[in-house]
Symmetry: C2
Subunit: 200 residues, 2 copies
């Protein structure tokens, strides 16, 4: 099982303003999705922090199809979700390592981990294998950082960098060498509508 | 007159450990200088913070030729420098804007601003026109950040990104649209030995 992060940051390394707002992400992308659909085609499970999930619920659309979806929350055990949410939402209060263990036992192949504090916690525990950072050319001067404090260095392996006409620079780094490939989708399929449990 | 920054950071945005050490910069570059010599060929003036200058003095070589060289220090007015230093070292306690004004009056064309606190201060005051960041694929988890806190956003223009075989990813951003081109050097010249005062 592989665990990946796919996140946008400001040039000074913030993933959200101090109040959580993401207004600075809105810019003219020229219709480019920065590879998000291609990335999602390789994902069968999403793990998301509660705050990020509640932001996603305000977007009016659900970009995750019917993939297995787990919201991490210490306090809530269920959410009322709008009709556009096409996945069954599981809620978990497990610790990162325990959650990933149980997901692997259930056959998860490639897990997308999202949410500021969540990403920091998973990286700190050595539980992220690959991270893709899309840098927006703006300085915010403060906010919620992508990486937290740590006591020892982590060396990463650079995989690929792409620069987009909008000025976004996207780099992928490998931290651990773990892999999982989902079966190829049929042409034209734009999401994994029926993730199975056979890829673990 | 153009003011540029050319700096290496960790992936989490630090330019030095908390104690100022740069040991994490040592890696196998494959002999690549990451474009530093080409960058320096367009520079006629260096402004450097005292701490960074004192680190440079321990390197045993002087990569700045005879270019105009100003060390910013609030307390010292002169430095004892080793023989390998081939430039005359000026010391200034001026504020960033005042120093740049006086350099422009003296004919400076393209100023390279270096040093952690110095870069933060110059960026905060809107005094940097272009910044080139070479990201080393390592997480340090703490240290001296490249960018400081600020109260308003700054939009930048992405100029170019290059990925090197060593894993270093170098991006150049334009903040202000100011330009200055030094005259072409003769073939084989590796530094500007006689910057003149005619390019201001």
């Amino acid at each position: 099982m592989k665990r990946s992060v796919y996140i946008a940051t400001s040039l000074d390394g913030y993933i959200a303003r101090a109040d959580g707002s993401l207004d600075w992400l809105e810019h003219d992308s020229g219709g480019d999705d920065y590879g998000f659909a291609a990335f999602m085609n390789g994902i069968d499970t999403i793990v998301m922090g509660r705050n990020t999930f509640e932001q996603v619920l305000t977007f009016g659309q659900w970009p995750y199809g019917e993939r297995r979806f787990v919201v991490l929350s210490r306090t809530k055990t269920s959410f009322d979700v709008p009709d556009f949410v096409t996945a069954r939402i599981e809620v978990s209060s497990e610790k990162p390592r325990d959650l990933l263990d149980s997901l692997e036992q259930r056959g998860a192949c490639h897990v997308y981990v999202d949410g500021g504090g969540i990403i920091q916690a998973f990286v700190a525990d050595g539980l992220i294998d690959e991270i893709t950072i899309s840098r927006i050319p703006v300085l915010l001067g403060g906010g919620i950082g992508l990486f937290g404090p740590r006591n020892s260095d982590v060396q990463l392996e650079h995989v690929v960098t792409r620069a987009f006409p909008s000025g976004v620079v996207q780099s992928t780094y490998r931290i651990n060498d773990r892999a999982c490939s989902l079966p190829a989708l049929s042409p034209g399929a734009d999401d994994l509508s029926s993730p199975t449990d056979e890829h673990g």
